[in-house]
Symmetry: none
Subunit: 191 residues, 4 copies
């Protein structure tokens, strides 16, 4: 009987926003830009999000969830640790490469006034599975028995930087370059 709120439209808005933030930065986008890019009227944005703030926060949360879900795709706990870790490492790398705009968006958000403490907190909780992964490696004595937060810092930090470099230098991430990068990472972690 009625036209109901459209999930597809939220996706459109999110995609438009991510694209624009990656291109022009968080400080360079307007609600007008977003609506134009999403192919809807400006007012319509406010049907789905009460304010620009809320839109950015919702998108931030969605991006975080997305990237976690993708990470563990195809991960089989019964297979050897290193293989599983590699799989996940590659999942993340592939996802971040293919969704570079999301990566940039997340990075931009971290120190922006848009992201509320609550949103930040929720993002942290999503990291739990990665901590589990590190612990398993340590139990199997394959990974250094140091603070797992520090290990993750290393894994994620280097990956992020790799993505950034790849994007800006223009050097394509060949299969061999990827392998080299993974080896560097593994050499760091391994017990």
């Amino acid at each position: 009987m009625v036209k109901l709120k459209d999930d597809k439209k939220v996706t459109q808005i999110f995609q438009a926003t991510v694209k624009l933030v990656a291109r022009k930065g968080l400080s360079g986008i307007t609600m007008g830009d977003i609506s134009k890019e999403a192919g809807i009227a400006t007012g319509t944005l406010y049907v789905y999000f009460k304010s620009k703030d809320e839109l950015i926060n919702a998108l931030f949360a969605a991006c975080r969830e997305n990237s976690v879900q993708v990470s563990f795709k195809g991960y089989q706990p019964n297979r050897p640790f290193k293989l599983g870790f590699r799989q996940i490492w590659l999942n993340i790398l592939r996802y971040k490469l293919q969704n570079f705009e999301e990566t940039v968006f997340l990075e931009q958000c971290y120190h922006s006034p848009f992201i509320t403490a609550a949103t930040r907190e929720k993002a942290l909780q999503l990291a739990a599975p990665f901590y589990e992964l590190m612990k398993r490696g340590q139990q199997e004595q394959l990974v250094k028995s140091v603070d797992s937060g520090l290990l993750l810092t290393f894994v994620m930090g280097t990956m992020n930087e790799l993505i950034r470099q790849t994007h800006y230098s223009g050097i394509p991430l060949s299969r061999s370059r990827i392998n080299t990068a993974f080896d560097l990472c593994w050499d760091a972690l391994k017990a």
Copy 2:
């Protein structure tokens, strides 16, 4: 002509800007905010910088130069490589920790529409000494003989993420934590 512009005032403006960007993000600051924080009138900002763009670009350049100059402080090429590398690594870490706001500012700038291609290019050139350092390590067969860009990606990525984590988690960077982090980094690089 009569008198050169007041250098102290430029410093005030830079400090105010860095502080505010770290707290509210690039997208959250206005010229009014900056002038208030710097303790001067809005109009005065325009005595020192033609526009907001110019101010941000100048500050970006200044920060980059700062951080490079500090990195090699106390570095003696004639001493063993690992010791020198460690020194530089610690220099950077200490600088970034103590000047967290600058670090955030630089990060925020990367994908902003403020930074011009020219400014970006100049920033890249400043990285030259680090490439040299990696090459030395390779010549001495202490460092893996892979693309030095990739190596630096690991060095910088770890450090940046470590700084961020430290700041947000509130976990203090104890000496042992620092040592562990360095070891991870070194294990990744070492041949």
Copy 3:
């Protein structure tokens, strides 16, 4: 055509509007507010009224008619003038007290751009019975023989202000207070 528009729904809309205007003023209400308060969809408002303007004008007219009809309830021209006048005075007072929101609505409308000249004119005509009443009092030499418009000004002015004061001060309108107010009014009018 098929079926007449739902009269109950018009009442709902009117009640919702009056309530909201009393609470937030004419300038503070939106069609969305009204529909929500009335428990219907925004679009449905437009089934019953071509526009916001029309809705307000129709409501204005309805309120005016209401208040006049109530005024003469129980008025018997054959009974003595003062008794009849008192009856009407009390009728109005009671009505305005019990329907304070309507009173506010009418007051708000007077200087609003919503009310058209035609609506205003029609409202004036509704006052005719009150002029008649004043004339009767004068013919019976109980009321001062001055311009009956002026007399009505006093009757209505007192009443309106009394209602407002009662509502805002919170002082309840006791029977004795009502009697005092009527006496003031009557002393002003009486020949």
Copy 4:
């Protein structure tokens, strides 16, 4: 050395606002209208008032103060009560007539969402001198010894209605009509 905030500009803004509200109602004015009428840029309004809300509240307070101050002009407590009361009554009448727009503005404000509880409270306190006046009349046994609030309700209510009627009927307030009106008022009050 500097251009300082200009009191004259506040007056301009107030005059423009009052004029427009009287013509188009509180719900019919925009900040754009006001700035145009005041002959300044829209942004300039926000130099003087943080928001539309604040502007309306400040104007409301100013109008109330204005009208009280004018009321007692030329009032000499040592002269007979009725003369003094008459003087004040005429002062108010004249002021409200000449500043009809202010009167309309105040009336429009009463039930608007703009006026805060605090502003309303302050307005009430300004009425103190009028209560004093009524008490004096009662002490001299010239005025009915009933609640002075009720007496004021009567005086003010009838005056407001008179102003309104005068303005809308187009019947000019001749000297004799004024005298008649005062007599009605006095007859009501007198002991």
